[in-house]
């Protein structure tokens, strides 16, 4: 069945909203917020696609998903075909369908976004991935004959998984090393259950395993084994370093050692990876937030995840503090909307200057100062300036710092011939992702600094292409 609706009519069809769990019901629950399209919504939404000759959705996608083609398959009712089409370019569709900033990528490119609402590509992708998983008929892509080449991937986050999927399809032997006990990197320690159920991550990884990717957890490359040892006695022909930006940044203000002050990384890792929200069923504890006031500092997706998690732990109040205005917040619009609906208090133009606490070292509040916006700074955003004499304290037993991350130094520190920049990120050629060290490639947050899941996946694909070329020719 082809789409027979004239383009003019398609433009008039409204974008189908994502069904959500009600704000009151979900604000205290770790169950997924977005419920997903049903068959009717999918059929209606797919018909809105204008099937452009030069689809800007695909060029806007960091991994180049062939949107028009998979939407055509949806219209034809071939959902498993649509899933296979997505998998040609994207190894983790159930994940990207949930956490990609589509509004800046595929949907940002959608021609309809100029005049009406863009096609809901993310929602369609998510439906297809979920449909495929529920059907139990996940299509395993064709695997090329064995090449005899071995590739090691350091880190099982989105960059590493995406590279692993592409490389194993080329017939290479691929082994992914993970420092933690669970696979998925930021997908399991960072992104909360209510946005990305861990079961989905596990199932996408199981597909990679079925494709032949080997995984080894509990290996800290740089400590348990060095890059030189991987390429020496362990016999790998190439290594892809995709360790992410796992080094939390604190604010360097007084009082950050007080009990109750967390980095977002620690708070989220305790909850997501260690399931501390189910203490004492699980052994790892987290500060008991019930009926306490929680302040989160920052304005990105990690800050949103932290503040919404605090609410779900039973916080009396959960306040987001940001030194710029709401317009400047880097978080996705959907996350901001969800946080507001759930009751998060937004205090914009507010900057923390001190963590205050008791004699015994327990946090009682965050001293802040009002800010006003001045001239644009180097980022193009208006620079926040403190308002003299405006200091005040927000009561808080817990404060979570989500002010960005830096480069985790473990691989670099034991690999002296691996060039890094002054912030200690690994230097890699933007196209080939080759580093200064022969056979070593790097990509994702460890090269770019903290970015998004899909950009890391894009880097993973690029690395896979480049590594394939290298191990095939063995010329550097």
């Amino acid at each position: 069945m082809a789409n027979t609706i004239p383009n003019k009519e398609r433009m008039k069809m409204p974008r189908q909203p994502m069904p959500e769990r009600h704000a009151h019901a979900r604000a205290r629950s770790f169950e997924e917020v977005n419920l997903g399209y049903d068959l009717d919504l999918v059929a209606l939404e797919a018909l809105r696609c204008l099937a452009c000759a030069k689809p800007a959705c695909t060029s806007g996608c960091p991994v180049g998903v062939k949107v028009k083609d998979f939407v055509d398959l949806i219209i034809a009712g071939d959902y498993l075909g649509a899933a296979a089409k997505i998998r040609e370019d994207n190894a983790l569709p159930a994940i990207t369908g949930r956490v990609c900033p589509q509004e800046d990528q595929c949907e940002g490119g959608c021609i309809m976004s100029k005049r009406a609402d863009s096609l809901a590509i993310g929602h369609l992708e998510r439906f297809i991935a979920d449909y495929e998983r529920a059907s139990g008929k996940v299509g395993i892509p064709t695997i090329a004959p064995r090449t005899g080449k071995k590739v090691a991937i350091v880190g099982s986050g989105p960059a590493g998984l995406s590279a692993a999927g592409d490389l194993v399809q080329k017939g290479h032997q691929v082994r992914v090393f993970e420092a933690l006990h669970e696979l998925g990197g930021v997908l399991v320690y960072g992104i909360p259950e209510f946005r990305l159920p861990k079961e989905i991550v596990k199932q996408d990884i199981d597909v990679l395993r079925a494709m032949g990717v080997e995984f080894e957890t509990n290996v800290v490359v740089g400590k348990s084994v060095t890059l030189d040892e991987l390429m020496g006695e362990e016999g790998y022909d190439a290594v892809f370093v995709a360790t992410g930006a796992g080094l939390p940044q604190f604010l360097s203000i007084p009082g950050e050692s007080l009990n109750g002050v967390y980095s977002a990384n620690e708070f989220l890792t305790r909850i997501n990876l260690m399931r501390a929200y189910r203490f004492p069923e699980y052994d790892e504890p987290v500060y008991d937030c019930r009926d306490k006031d929680v302040v989160v500092v920052g304005a990105g997706n990690t800050a949103m995840d932290s503040v919404r998690t605090a609410l779900r732990l039973g916080a009396r109040s959960a306040t987001l503090v940001y030194r710029r205005g709401e317009e400047e917040m880097p978080a996705r619009k959907e996350e901001i909307k969800h946080a507001k609906e759930e009751g998060v208090i937004f205090r914009m133009l507010t900057n923390p200057v001190e963590m205050v606490g008791t004699e015994k070292g327990w946090l009682t509040g965050v001293r802040c100062v009002d800010m006003e916006l001045g001239e644009p700074d180097e980022s193009g955003r208006r620079k926040p300036i403190p308002v003299a004499g405006s200091e005040f304290v927000i009561d808080a037993s817990v404060a979570i710092i989500a002010a960005g991350t830096g480069a985790n130094p473990l691989v670099q520190s034991t690999t002296p011939d691996l060039a890094t920049n002054k912030k200690n990120y690994i230097v890699a050629d933007p196209e080939s992702l080759r580093t200064s060290k022969r056979g070593v490639f790097a990509g994702g947050d460890i090269v770019t600094g903290g970015a998004t899941v899909i950009l890391a996946m894009g880097a993973g694909r690029k690395a896979a292409k480049s590594i394939h070329e290298y191990v095939t020719t063995m010329t550097w």
């Binding site: 420092a179 006990h181 050692s257 009990n259 008991d288 070292g361 473990l410």
Partner: protein, 288 residues
Amino acid sequence: MFPIVEARVLGPNVKEFEIAAPRVARKHQAGQFIILRIYDRGERIPLTIKSADRERGTITIVVQAIGKTTSLLNELGKGDSILDVVGPLGKPSEIEKFGTVVVIGGGVGTAIALPTAAALRDAGNHVIAILGARNKGLVILENDIRAASHETFIMTDDGSYGEKGLVTDKLRELIASRGVDFVLAIGPIPMMRAVAECTRPQSIRTVVSLNSIMVDGTGMCGGCRVMIGNSSKFACVDGPEFDAHEVDFKVLMQRNEMYKESEQKAMADFRLNGGEEVKRVRGACANG
């Protein structure tokens, strides 16, 4: 899975485990630690490595049962397995030829100090060991530490073994009588702080190993941060050993209180229902 290949009791609530962990064994250097998780609902805890046998592919740790996880661990034995073991983590001890060095071990700190004592001896230092314990029954690894050092003194609070007094009493005596070039102290925080105060007046280089609360152990979460001088450092990647005269012990003690209530609750539950839990964990080991 990381099988326990040997286990033996060293003292009341103190047990030594030899665990098959070939990657850790191959790379271990004195002063480094592992993080382990016993079972699928377990927490991650850091434990310093006592020794490693590269050929057997094993590491040895010494565990004092204090909270739930260490109590559960100490219920396990040869033939059981630990679900996750990762390492070696942290920076190795700095081994140099200092001259006369004093290695102080308090309680299970003795096990942690042992490999560094041996490395200091091998580097040509004259190694004097001081072991501290409340009473005779709590002195562990005496023979090991005697083998790793040139002289060994044992101090007990009640005088039931060795000499009666504190490790710092003996340290002061040694500083006065022969001069000491370097001190390593590993044990309870009050002991390490007392040692730091003891060596501060003469600026004798003193190193302590810090046991702050960790999750990942790779520098990712910052939960283990400690104040060293005026800057915040991560014990997992910048340590665990630090210059004792720079450590803010007050902040360390305060931060280690963070989960006291949860720890007490978990331990109380374990006392009541621990038997079932142990059975389940051992069953999971048997099922691979």
